[in-house]
């Protein structure tokens, strides 16, 4: 269904595909994120996009379509920095806002923020260092 403002008012597999495709178009031209992603995904992007359709389907529709270990995947990405998560979230939220009505967009944002913080902690939290971490030079 399309809401009055022409935005999607609920989550579906098709909506997730639109979101993921539009989001990664932004990522791939973003000055901060593009170089990191280009190194992590040097070749064909479709397998990553397909995995992300499954990931968000699992999160938003509880389909169990994604099974993986995102912490391990992120640990081996060269050039990861704690502050990149904020940039990722800003782009993701902007994309959600373009596609979805407010409530649906919020549902995505809340999930994304929780998972981003969880990954950020897994990658960068050390008991002997300050948290949140100082920006890296």
């Amino acid at each position: 269904m399309i809401a009055a403002a022409g935005k999607l008012d609920h989550v579906s597999e098709d909506a997730i595909r639109q979101l993921v495709d539009a989001f990664y178009v932004k990522v791939r031209v973003d000055p901060e994120l593009a170089p990191i992603f280009a190194r992590a995904i040097p070749g064909d992007w479709q397998p990553h996009l397909t995995r992300m359709y499954a990931f968000w389907s699992s999160l938003m529709l509880a389909t169990g379509r994604y099974k993986g270990n995102p912490v391990a995947k992120h640990l081996v990405i060269p050039g990861m920095k704690p502050e990149l998560f904020a940039r990722w979230l800003a782009l993701f939220d902007a994309t959600c806002g373009e596609l979805f009505d407010h409530a649906t967009s919020e549902a995505f944002r809340i999930k994304a923020e929780r998972i981003a913080e969880s990954l950020r902690l897994a990658l960068f939290y050390r008991p002997d260092r300050p948290w949140p971490p100082e920006p890296t030079p």
Partner: protein, 112 residues
């Protein structure tokens, strides 16, 4: 941040959670499941799936001892990602108070 499995899972062990978990972070004891706090990505998908309402975010107050129990047994029990039949008497134990003291088993479950 993580989600934790709490008292009402004991002897209910419905296992709906393991099917929806995107990161397979559930571990199986003889009569309860736990979440590995270092593997959980805090997505919260499992919480509403639990028919026994036994899963909570660790940000809720009073869950420190459950977080400790989840962490401790997740490191020794086998991983479970495929749902099986719940115990035959699961329904009878759903909602019974203070199951930890009376019924908790530290023995591992069968896993996948």
């Amino acid at each position: 941040m993580t989600f934790v499995v709490t008292d009402n899972c004991i002897k209910c062990k419905y296992m709906d959670c393991v099917e929806v978990c995107p990161v397979d972070c559930f571990y199986e004891g003889e009569n309860m499941l736990v979440i590995h706090p270092d593997e959980c990505i805090d997505c919260g998908v499992c919480e509403p799936e639990c028919p026994a309402d036994a899963i909570s975010a660790d940000t809720e107050p009073g869950l420190e001892s459950w977080l400790k129990l989840n962490a401790e047994y997740a490191s020794v029990w086998p991983n479970i990602a495929i749902k099986r039949e719940a115990p035959a008497d699961a329904k009878a134990f759903d909602g019974v108070a203070n199951k930890l003291k009376q019924y908790f088993s530290p023995n591992p479950g069968q896993g996948d």
